[in-house]
Symmetry: C2
Subunit: 333 residues, 2 copies
């Protein structure tokens, strides 16, 4: 296993310490239980947004903590749900008196632990709502979850709700907005290589030199099919087809097009995929008015990519464009 | 060779088309000869900054075109110098009447072709200066260059000079500033895996499961030594030692600390390296007042990292902090 780590046990701790030092202006990293919060939090009178999940998907979620996005993120061990006490501590720390929204990727452990923490907070008199993100069209059930998985679309939900929260939206409005973003978001991923979880020490699966895993999850869990290597334009078609079939986008719809790298994919290749995905969107009469290209929801060093489409409303677009200031996304701030 | 490409011949063209579509608000991609320029360029009365080099190092250089950084970038074929006609066309296109600065990584072909273009522009009556970046302490001469190579430190030069140019610095001042930034910058890199140039179709070198290439260049060219795998903290020490020996930083110096990923390295691992590099800097009495962590100067999908230290002056810090709005770096804008 070739990685810049000290030991499998220390990966998350060491990385959190690095983040804390590098981004001391934006973030506060709290330890035992571990969570990352806005340096200027809690923000009085603002609804707080908390997310989290297994580590290994960076910059998701810790890199998205800051003004206009998350108030806190709870990093679990690599590909492992955060514990209820992490979520509880984070929620308590960032509660600004206007309620807290938990944005949770649909994995059984994550959902359960966030629910547990939410119940405890409710008992303390804090209004906590939960929206589950399940944007992955690849598979119905998987190794880690019942129902669809939450993947790269989570970034869009965190950003849009974060923008709206900063602008003063209340908990009711944000819960509805997040639900609407999730309902209008579809993602599909593909992998060229596996990744190696430090604790496991060996690749999560094996792919032949001419094979791709189509419909890959963000933990290297199996997808729809193992297929032969195809040119990038064909790959973009393969990813766009199930998305467009699943969510009946109509000609004239305004969308956000997001091409996400899984960690080991050069930016050059993401732009090649974006080119074709954009062309396909246009052929369907969709108006791509916003975009994101980069490695924002990763699977350690996996070479792979996903495409996400979000049907944008005016409110979503406005929240997307609002200032954001986090380690991984920043504009207008 | 597993890549999201259509054919080795089309890699750069397809990616440029993707960039053009994704970043139409910031960039204009001109074709035949190929270059990327600011959408709002040429900026009248401002010194124009032009850089470029082989493709495969993205976001360097095209991702750094925009307000507060480069006016134009010339992408060569993968790991291949841009041609004089590309550089000439780009320089002509962004010349705003206040002269043009070429920021050139020290590779023989790059330097020669930028010089040729500069001479032709001089003949047209445009004042063009050249600053060569050679921040790599790893080797004296290499496969591609006489003298030291230009590597990740280039990003810092482009940003700082870009910030100063936007604030109105003249060509004389910018040439001196760029020279000073280069003189105060040192980098050192290491690789865990090779990368595959699309045209070659096979990895540029082979490393055993327990080996690292110490002092790697950004084209997979050999470094100082092939060494055994070490824990991340030791790797950070190995990278910091030759930097600190080479440039006599003094206790109390203010520095910018930059941990760069080579393309296939998870962000998690970059933060682990940053943590230790910061600690070492502190032990030497250096004051880390600015930082950068991420994959900004890559070698396709290579798993590897480099550390760069820059001794900051007040003028450099001010230019670093000024607004920047490019696809890959943006703040305050």
């Amino acid at each position: 296993m070739k990685k810049f780590i000290n030991s499998p046990e220390d990966v998350v701790t060491d990385a959190l310490e690095g983040m804390a030092i590098a981004h001391a202006d934006l973030l506060k990293v709290c330890r035992e239980p571990d969570y990352i919060m806005r340096a200027d939090g809690p923000v009085r009178g603002k609804v707080a947004l908390v997310s989290g999940g297994g580590s290994g998907h960076e910059p998701l979620h810790g890199g998205f903590v800051g003004r206009g996005m998350l108030d806190a993120a709870c990093p679990g061990a690599v590909f492992t749900s955060p514990t209820p006490d992490q979520i509880l501590a984070a929620t308590r720390a960032v509660d600004g008196g206007a309620g807290v929204l938990h944005i949770v990727k649909n994995y059984t452990g994550d959902v359960m632990n966030f629910e547990m923490a939410a119940e405890l907070m409710q008992a303390e008199g804090v209004d906590v709502r939960q929206v589950i993100i399940d944007d992955d069209v690849a598979v119905k059930d998987s190794l880690y979850t019942a129902g669809r998985r939450g993947v790269a679309g989570t970034v869009l939900a965190e950003r849009i709700c974060g923008g709206a929260a900063e602008a003063g939206a209340d908990l009711e409005t944000l819960t509805a907005l997040c639900t609407e973003v999730n309902a209008g978001t579809r993602s599909m991923g593909i992998a060229l290589t596996p990744c190696t979880v430090p604790h496991a020490g060996k690749p999560s699966f094996a792919l032949a030199e001419d094979e791709m895993e189509f419909g890959i999850g963000i933990h290297g869990e199996p997808g729809r099919a193992r297929v032969k290597l195809e040119p990038a334009d064909r790959v973009a078609e393969m990813l766009m087809e199930p998305i467009l079939e699943d969510l009946p986008f109509s000609a004239g719809d305004e969308i956000l097009l997001f091409v996400n790298g899984m960690g080991g994919t050069p930016l050059l290749e993401l732009y090649i995929l974006y080119r074709k995905a954009y062309e396909i969107a246009q052929q369907h009469g969709l108006k791509v008015s916003r975009h994101l290209v980069g490695s924002y929801t990763t699977s350690l060093e996996m070479a792979g990519a996903s495409i996400t489409l979000l049907r944008l409303t005016g409110a979503m677009r406005q929240a997307w464009d609002a200032p954001v200031l986090t380690p991984a996304l920043r504009w207008g701030a």
